[in-house]
Amino acid sequence: MYSEKVMDHFQNPRNVGEIEDASGVGTVGNAKCGDIMRMFLDIDENGIIREAKFKTFGCGAAVATSSMATELVKGKTIQEALQVTNKAVMEALDGLPPVKVHCSLLAEEAIHAALWDYAEKNHITIEGLQKPKNDISEGEEEEDY
């Protein structure tokens, strides 16, 4: 059900781990829904993301989207990182099954949460960054029959 890219990023996740004294750390999701992502960013004085790491509790897609999201933001400016949307993560993974789309939303939200933490620590405002929700749950509709 998963693409080869998803399986690759699940089996060999890139950037697993923590960054000590990270510039920004964001945790999103909740254990109730079975997905938690924590993203660590190391941002230099020029606003470039030097390093990105993650820890994730979740399914194969959650791990793969976290891994891909860290890959996509590494080396980017903050503004560029903000452009890494869930769609971009999904495309980079050659797609996700429909029931797993929320995992990619979580990955986007994790980037935003880490950037938000960075902005707060440094008392700056990042243009275009909204205070992230700390939880993603799609209002999945019950089928009636």
Binding site: M7, G34, F57, C59, H102
Partner: protein
Amino acid sequence: MIYLDNAATTKTAPEVVDAMLPYFSEYYGNASTIYGLGAESKKAMDHARQTIADSLGAKPEEIYFTAGGSESDNWALKATAEAYASKGKHIITTKIEHHAILHTCEYLEKRGFEITYLNVDRDGLISLDELKAAIRPDTILISVMFANNEIGTIEPIAEIGEIAKEHGVLFHTDAVQAYAQVPINVDEMHIDMLSASGHKLNGPKGIGFLYIRKGVKIRSFVHGGAQERSRRAGTENIPGIVGLGAAVERAMRIMDSKTRKEIELRDYLIGRLENEIPHCWLNGHRTKRLPNNINFSFLFIEGESMLIMLDMKGICASSGSACTSGSLDPSHVLLAIGLKHEEAHGSLRLTLSEDSTKEEMDIVAEEVKKIVQRLRDMSPLYEDFLKSQKNN
């Protein structure tokens, strides 16, 4: 490959396939016809029906062939509800039933029936006192599964049957997981209706039956011809019925040795997992349990990830995590026994067969150990846990 998902389905036994084969292109007659070819089909069907009846202490005319467990469950509930609606509109079941029961109950609720869902304790057992207290004058049916498909807990069926009989309420049991795995006698256990499925006992898929005690008023489920005493019309699935009969015959023959072997291997693997992996536990009752069922919760990790990693090692298993159910909610059974959501997400079910070996149990124990550690190493929940340990 190590196949430990026998609660999902089983391998059709070679002797079952052999028994079925002639009924595709040699004895293909319609059992309702009068010529010799049709009589062969009729004879084979009668034989299968007798075998199944004998396995339950029932009469052959009380066995109705269906397409499987879900159909049997649907039939038992919907047709009883319809036939007994004038007596009352209250049905008692449990929170841990299969969806074939639960979703049928929801359907009935929308049509004016009232359903009481009994709680279960930490082991998955219902309380007989709660059951007694739930019975009302308008209660028409009690439906409690014989054994749970996820955690393997075997319910006190004889006691439930006794209570149902005392109160003049019909008793149905979904025995899809238990039938031909544990001894069942419908008279001794006061069972009025019982659902079973062929493919859970090394029979073919697409065939099952509903036992309906003589005298139980139950409406036709499929209208049409006179098949199955006019209660379930449609030309009989003779190869399936023959296969089911052969599978039952085989299952009853090997039950003792299979049970002994499975329990030994089951308890061996449970012991290894419990002793060698921290922060985990067995779900379900330790002894009132299907011989082949193992269900564990591993803290800080999620089930689907575990399943993919096991699959990569050639091990087939299942989990109660949300991601394996296609929704955001984990198994209703694990929540009903009191697990928190995150504990239910991290569950793993391994269900053995008579082909399972000790070598396989050892491989599985080693792989599960490695996989759990690998997933914990990337889990923020585990990280938080380790930090909280350090701070204490």
